[in-house]
Subunit: 604 residues, 2 copies
């Protein structure tokens, strides 16, 4: 059994594609882990931003959380509409491209692709950081642990969509269950016990500054929305009826996200929890409610896992989105083909590679990347919603005014949030996205132009009537000595044409004389031509000779036959002259000349 | 003009090899810079080792320096003998191999090769360190400066032997001249002025400990001898009479080395100079004698340069030694061929690559490597001298007893020093050499076995009487669609044989139907065969079909013709499926099957 089949398993037939689809339960696990993981840091981000203005502002966390939950509702409703309008998969790329034009589509696509890479990098390192803060001895192995986590998720995804759904459902549902329990127990305690003294914080900031701090807190909290678009990109991964199942999954995700965010924000405020570098807000809350019992540790463990699994959503969506863009010829076509397990393996591997690269570059400390990805997400949100508005305007079907209203509100809100985030986070690195997105868009354009140009060059529509056959076939054997591999090459050359010449480039006159003397005995009647080379180059005299032959037979074709050693061990390649390879590289660019290696298999 | 011809210049004809040889003056510059550079740190190493036992031991620097000068005389005399006994180049590898056997030869060769790499790494970083201690602002660019220095020396060496002699002679002679001036002026001052009070240092250590400290100081000082073997490896680089010119150069080098080492050790002691982390001994001495005038700065500058140029000796010797070992089939054969400028370019490039690797790995701080290379040098010395003893014993020519005596003293002294260094420096990293040398020897053995096995497999001595021609030639065109590149492939296939079949692997039935419908119009009468592929693999069905054909025509040969795009820009390769490459990789290992790419040149 090969390593590949051990890791990935045996291939799946094309006709079984439908069996590989996800149920709603699995779909929620696969596509919501990114969104739900933000519960672990969203409310905390708000508190951290507010505390800069003094503890007096901390109570604002509740209205801010409410605003974010409202935003979740608006965006989810908008995407719900999109899923039903584009049941074959309505990601921001498709919606923006179909309704707003190619460029907005590419911008949305580029923003999402970049985001997926960042999500993997950031969530994996956050998850590993959660583990290393529990076990500081592991800290020096941060990078290795991150890489192992990425490889693990990558391999599970390469094993197929259902496999990743099966494996990763358990931790996701443990996370959801334990947090719901946390909130239910909190509510029970809140209802049946006497209320603790209301936290009175000192006033500390002027109203003007307070406004900006609250705005920043809101912008930080918007990280909660990342991943909410995941379902819309993955509609085709669901069992039929795809749109209906995806829509229901989206609603469940939005409700879970809203309840958990609001609950955590409310009770964090209720218990007067302060943000703290050494312990997360969620950990403090869980400790307050459950003390340090088994449930506390389950919550902590599930939190680390969900942070790591947020990456899994990217592994589900990045390959899908890139395959769609590749089918449209905006990305390399290799991304559009399905692998052994019917998943877009190349996309999975490339996402893995890029995130490993970022992890290594940033040595596992990816905090700097966090501001970047909210910008990308909201760019995609805004373009996708605006695309939907245009869609209803064009279609004017039943209830179009209501639909425009919903997506219109979505567009305006997400656009405003985008501006807030971009301004607030500009100096924190958001400017990088303003370089990265246009660069990727430019690249997709270049790729597209290339494919169009190739298609035109390959097209048979411009074909000159009837193709003529070649009038002559000259075969030239490049000979490097007189041995078995050359004999094999001669034998093969004789099967190609009657015009066969062997050519030897003379570097050392003694060696040349030796070969000449032996030639006739083994040559099978093929003439040997000796070429002089005062500067010891093997390639130049050979190329000159080829040009000569080409000039002689203008309507002919030339085959250059090269004997090639095939070593039994890979490192043996290093022990043989790569002259043949070099000759082939030069010939590749000559019109009317084809090179052929005749392999000679070495035993050891 | 290409970058290559700009950097390296135009090629030199083979017959002009003799004009490229070195005069004695140039030879001294090329082959002695390594040995002479040790003047810059040899006496200092002795003082640093001695001062650990208290200042009382510092006066021992003079007898230790005298001992080292004696060692220089012994080793130089031994090598002088070797050069005349082996006028065609008598490096340690050849002498040990011819007289002591293959293994001792390989050990000496491996020790020297490793040493040359270490010499480049250590001397470049020492030279750059000298510059950065003068200009601390440059310190953060250490690695880049090291790389630039290596590349510079590499390029000059690739331009030819004479070129490197010409370019690098000037700094070497400035260094020698300024140090001779330093010693002459010191002698003059010493003779004409009243002597300074003799330094009285306090007694500080017991006699037993003192002995070991003195031994360690001697071992450290032996670094002075590194590079003394350089001339013996490069005899063939000198103008005729090679042995005589090389011998005279060796004597001059030894005299210069002895005078400078002794002079510096004597006056450092005379002026009571103490070793010091912040200023080198040579700098202190020059400052004492000349104050901080122009000559002081010339000495400092020339010292940095000679340290960097010590690497040049390795660039002269490593490629020569590796070409000799490659001709004997102990290293990859590519190392044995001369490049455009008649130098062994591949060896130069590999030495550059390896030392760049070490510099980057150690981030330019290669102090840890210094103990390693004294071990290698003395291993080579001992084996080479022992080989000479054996040589005289076998030859018993005129004066053989005297010769045995000279080389015998050489053998015994260098062997003793080898043991002293190995023991003293074992924990400082010398143990690494005890792993590196045997590993390299093992590698050379493996390489040798491979070449012997290949030679046997290729040999025509075992040739089965007359080779028969193939009875049948089947041509299979692997078709990926219906377009111009396929038409070119069909046209070429028709020139090869009358039995041509086009094969298409069906992944998508719709696409397959489209191709079938169009086929007859463009196919030039070639039949199209559709292969089913339930698992979406293009390669497997094709290989199965090839096997089928191979079974049908047992005495035939098969050519698989693949249309291949040749993009006009390198990055366009990434945009095309590498399926053709993969198919070729699989076919390469099938007997009786040859694959051929028919290039189709894309314009953009």
């Amino acid at each position: 059994m090969s390593l590949k089949s051990f890791l990935i398993g045996s291939p799946i037939e094309s006709i079984k594609e439908k069996h590989e689809r996800l149920t709603k339960t699995m779909g929620l696990a696969v596509f919501s882990s990114d969104a739900l993981s933000s519960v672990a840091y969203g409310p905390e981000e708000i508190l951290f931003a507010l505390v800069l203005g003094g503890t007096a502002l901390l109570h604002y966390s509740i209205p801010i959380a409410a605003g974010i939950v409202l935003l979740v509702a608006i965006v989810a409703t908008s995407y719900f509409q999109t899923i039903h309008a584009y049941p074959s998969g309505g990601g921001a790329y498709i919606v923006a491209k179909e309704n707003l034009g190619t460029y907005p589509g590419l911008v949305a696509g580029a923003a999402l692709l970049i985001d997926y890479v960042l999500t993997v990098t950031v969530s994996i390192s956050a998850g590993i950081a959660a583990i290393t803060s529990a076990f500081p001895a592991l800290r020096e192995h941060t990078v290795v642990m991150c890489l192992v986590a990425i490889l693990l998720i990558m391999v599970v995804n390469l094993r197929g969509v259902r496999e990743s759904g099966r494996v990763f459902s358990i931790p996701v549902y443990i996370f959801i269950g334990s947090l719901v329990l946390l909130i239910v127990v909190s509510i029970a305690k809140y209802s049946f016990s006497s209320p603790p003294p209301i936290q009175e914080y000192k006033e500390a900031t002027s109203n003007g500054i307070a406004f900006f701090i609250i705005l920043r807190a809101f912008a930080s909290g918007c990280a909660t929305l990342t991943g909410i678009e995941a379902v819309s990109n993955g509609v085709r991964a669901f069992k039929a009826p795809e749109a209906r199942n995806a829509g229901i999954t989206l609603i469940w995700m939005a409700i879970t996200l809203g309840v958990l965010t609001m609950g955590i924000a409310f009770f964090a405020d209720h218990y007067g929890i302060l943000p703290n570098e050494n312990e997360t807000v969620l950990s403090q809350l869980a400790r307050t409610v459950f003390s340090k019992g088994i449930i506390y540790y389950i919550i902590q463990f599930a939190t680390s896992l969900i942070l790591i699994l947020a990456a899994n959503t990217s592994f589900a969506d990045f390959p899908r989105l890139s395959s769609i863009m590749a089918s449209d010829r905006y990305l390399p076509r290799q991304l559009s083909s399905r692998g052994d397990k019917l998943v877009f393996s190349n996309g999975i591997v490339i996402l893995g590679f890029l995130s490993v690269l970022l992890i290594v570059l940033f040595r596992g400390d990816t905090h700097a990347l966090i501001p970047l990805y909210a910008v990308g997400v909201f760019t995609a949100f805004t373009l996708s919603q605006a695309g939907m508005v245009k869609h209803w305007l064009n279609a004017r079907g039943k209830g179009w005014l209501k639909n425009i209203l919903i997506n219109g509100i979505g567009t305006v809100t997400t656009a405003i949030v985008l501006v807030i985030i971009a301004v607030e986070k500009f100096t924190h690195g958001a400017w990088i996205v303003l370089i990265a997105i246009p660069s990727l868009v430019l690249l997709t354009q270049k790729i597209h132009q290339h494919y169009l140009s190739v298609a035109k060059q390959l097209s048979l529509d411009y074909c000159l009537t009837e193709e003529k056959e070649f009038k002559h076939h000259s075969v030239i054997i490049a000979v490097s000595g007189i041995q078995q591999a050359v004999i094999s090459a001669i034998k093969y050359a004789k099967a190609l044409s009657d015009d066969v010449v062997a050519v030897y480039v003379c570097i050392d006159p003694v060696e040349t004389a030796r070969i000449k003397a032996k030639w006739d005995k083994y040559c099978m009647g093929i003439p040997l031509l000796i070429l002089e080379s005062p500067y010891r180059s093997v390639v130049e005299p050979l190329i000159d000779y080829i040009d000569e032959v080409r000039d002689t037979y203008k309507e002919g074709v030339i085959t250059v036959v090269l004997p090639e050693f095939v070593p039994s061990k890979w490192w043996h390649h290093l022990l043989h002259n790569q002259t043949a390879l070099f000759i082939k590289g030069v010939i590749l660019f000559k019109k009317g000349v084809v090179s052929t290696s005749v392999p000679f298999h070495l035993k050891s």
